[in-house]
Subunit: 428 residues, 2 copies
């Protein structure tokens, strides 16, 4: 039952493509982004790929009167790239860095160095507690042969776990960011089905923007056309999602995207398009809109989590194979090490330096093998942990489906329980 | 107002000291721990330092009928060492790995390899939602010169942030583990004051155990006496903490510890003493026991967070100095690299191998410097992020104290805002 007329919350999200000395026209584009934010005065602006703290500080200074509340999330070697600008007071912030995020030796992809994460700020909007999330997931470099798919599915799982466990008690939930997933990609379906967050693009009353809501389009000056193949017109990988609560009903009244070129400017804001959502908030006395189980079919959740588990298992097999290769490298290097040792102790014409050089090369190989072995071992731990958590969720959903607490397998590690227990009793 | 008579929840916590091939009598002690848990049938057992998955699986099999619900948290290179055994259904699990956890090159300490973390399991206890946390913080190797203090304070901060953001909606909260902090240590005070969790040792009606609740005692066969100096009798670093909610009032009726030697056994369970708490749960219709601001003075929270910020700042300075040293190492190696280059191009009598060996040594130094530089850079990011979050909390507490939303500095990054904004208005 509504008690007041709705108010509006304007949310902005943009992947700024702010890699200093690599992204084109970075300084000029941050000027433009600052102008846009200062002029439009969105309630909350969620930015990704603000890789340089200097660029964040530039925006912070420029927006000090329009958006006096800010948080820049720091993690990884370079940073998380995530920044929030708010017209409303930020009460608290929390960061969760994804456990899996590519490989450090994939230097030309570079995601590993970014410390990809999800940031949460708790914003006080006239007494309402808004939990606002900003995130950026691992990029998809090849749709046909996506070696990072298990990483992105694990990130989606960690994102949904983080959101559902930290959003209890929120009056409203907003998430914005570059998910690097198409709308019907597994990680996206997994996230939406388990958090109950709704996609503003599919929910909006009115839409003004690129065809099909694309946020990476061929018509953008900075977009590499080969990155879009086979989606010539563009893809939708940036999102604003939302969810209300028992106290507040949320509705997306309008959603808009930038459309590549900017009027009176020689180039676009970024290689991604920006999103702006206008959300209507309706205070409620009571509502049925609460929790995911009310809004989403349990069997749908089961299906998508089963699909995700299969991907994680596949990733586990691949990573175990990589760990084996690292072990072979170590053994190979150890065997090779016998060569300079033999040369040192057997009478031959080799100089001390030759032996030393060979030894150094072998030690280098051995060390590389050891570091890779440790890296893949941590990845295996993360994949197993994710699979265990997914299994727990599956079991919980199964219990909900059957309505029987003691049915099905209950152990999180996949071992069947031997006998059901008598339930915990309250003394009468 | 109470509606029923209380029921009881028995919680167990033990640091198992389960380092295979290093910890003494590991196999025999796991046998004893399994026997104890099977016999005592605690509702929930929280174990730390179960480093080997094989040992976890041994316990899991042994306890399959008494504790059919389990979760083993996996992270880091070796694992988190955290395990939960429960008589009640585990519905969900979530892991948060601490961002700072020592240094990989401190091989003899080894904490870095463990992937220290806090694990959460959500347990269904007759319809009540219990959020049960298990954790293990970085060890204190020297009380006089504790180089890891900033790491432990950051871990305490991340622990309290994780607990307070994930425990909303819980009917009861229990945390058990080895905090590696004395009761009045900064991180401990910080955690308690900001979560409202209460220490079972100070709250219990009856206590049976070691003097002053010590969990590391001189009378334990496995304890190295020099580790206790200057606390000859022992120290208290293992805890069970608890908090109720609006639905459930919690009370610690009894707390006990093991006391070193075990009757009829030649040695203790571990080098730590085990804790057992018997908690009375009283279902309420309503209660004033809710949230931290009701139970704890805001000014106390302010004081402790200010103290913690000072430690984090100090840690930041130290880490920046370490990063500078790593940079010097890199520059030194680069300069040295000129030597083999000069030898290779100038006419001299040096063999190819001598040049190669020198080059390999220089490259090794350069690589070490680069890896250390990256490591300390990530540490600096974490320390800055923690300090920012602490500043946000300080500002929020300040706002509560003054009762004025617009007073004080509001920006999370320490920049003063220029002008207050008109508040968000609901349309009438």
């Amino acid at each position: 039952m509504a008690t007041e007329r709705p108010s509006r919350l304007r949310v902005f999200s943009l992947n700024c493509w702010g890699i200093r000395f690599f992204s084109q026209l970075c300084t000029q584009r941050y000027e433009m982004i600052g102008d846009l934010l200062g002029r439009e005065q969105h309630d909350i602006a969620l930015l990704q790929e603000v890789w340089s703290e200097r660029d964040f500080l530039f925006l912070k200074k420029k927006l000090s009167s329009s958006h006096p509340y800010t948080h820049y999330f720091k993690s990884g070697v370079i940073g998380s790239g995530l920044a929030v600008f708010s017209r409303h007071r930020i009460q608290d912030a929390l960061l969760y860095q994804y456990s899996l995020n590519g490989y450090p030796y994939m230097l030309r992809h570079g995601d590993w160095f970014g410390g990809k994460a999800v940031g949460l700020v708790i914003v006080d909007i006239s007494g309402l507690k808004a939990h606002v999330y900003v995130t950026h997931l691992h990029a998809e470099y090849s749709r046909a042969q996506d070696e990072y798919l298990p990483h992105r599915v694990v990130q989606s799982w960690e994102l949904l776990q983080f959101v559902r466990h930290t959003s209890r008690g929120a009056d409203l939930v907003v998430l914005g960011g570059d998910l690097n997933m198409h709308p019907q990609d597994l990680g996206n379906r997994l996230f939406r089905s388990h958090t109950g967050l709704r996609d503003c693009y599919t929910e909006t009353d009115t839409f003004d923007g690129c065809e099909d809501g694309h946020t990476l389009i061929a018509d953008n000056h900075f977009t590499k056309k080969q990155d879009l193949i086979p989606f010539e017109k563009g893809i939708r990988i940036d999102y604003i999602l939302m969810k209300g609560s028992q106290r507040v009903n949320m509705k997306c009244e309008s959603l808009s995207t930038t459309k590549g070129p900017v009027a009176d400017k020689p180039f676009p804001y970024s290689d991604h398009e920006a999103l702006t959502a206008e959300l209507a908030l309706l205070r409620l006395e009571d509502s049925s809109q609460h929790g995911l189980s009310d809004t989403l079919a349990v069997s749908d959740q089961m299906d998508v989590v089963t699909e995700a588990r299969a991907v994680v298992k596949e990733g586990l097999c691949q990573t175990e194979a990589l760990r084996d290769k690292a072990m072979h490298l170590m053994f190979g290097a150890l065997l090779l090490l016998l060569l300079p040792l033999a040369m040192a102790f057997l009478p031959c014409s080799c100089s001390f330096s030759t032996v030393g050089l060979l030894g150094a090369v072998c030690m280098g190989l051995l060390l590389s093998g050891a570091v890779l072995y440790l890296l893949f071992t941590t990845h295996i731990k993360v994949l197993k942990e994710t699979e265990d958590q997914m299994m727990l969720t599956s079991n919980d959903l199964q219990t909900k489906l059957t309505g029987c607490r003691l049915s099905g397998s209950s152990s999180s590690d996949g071992y069947p329980e031997l006998q059901p227990l008598s339930p915990f009793k309250w003394e009468e």
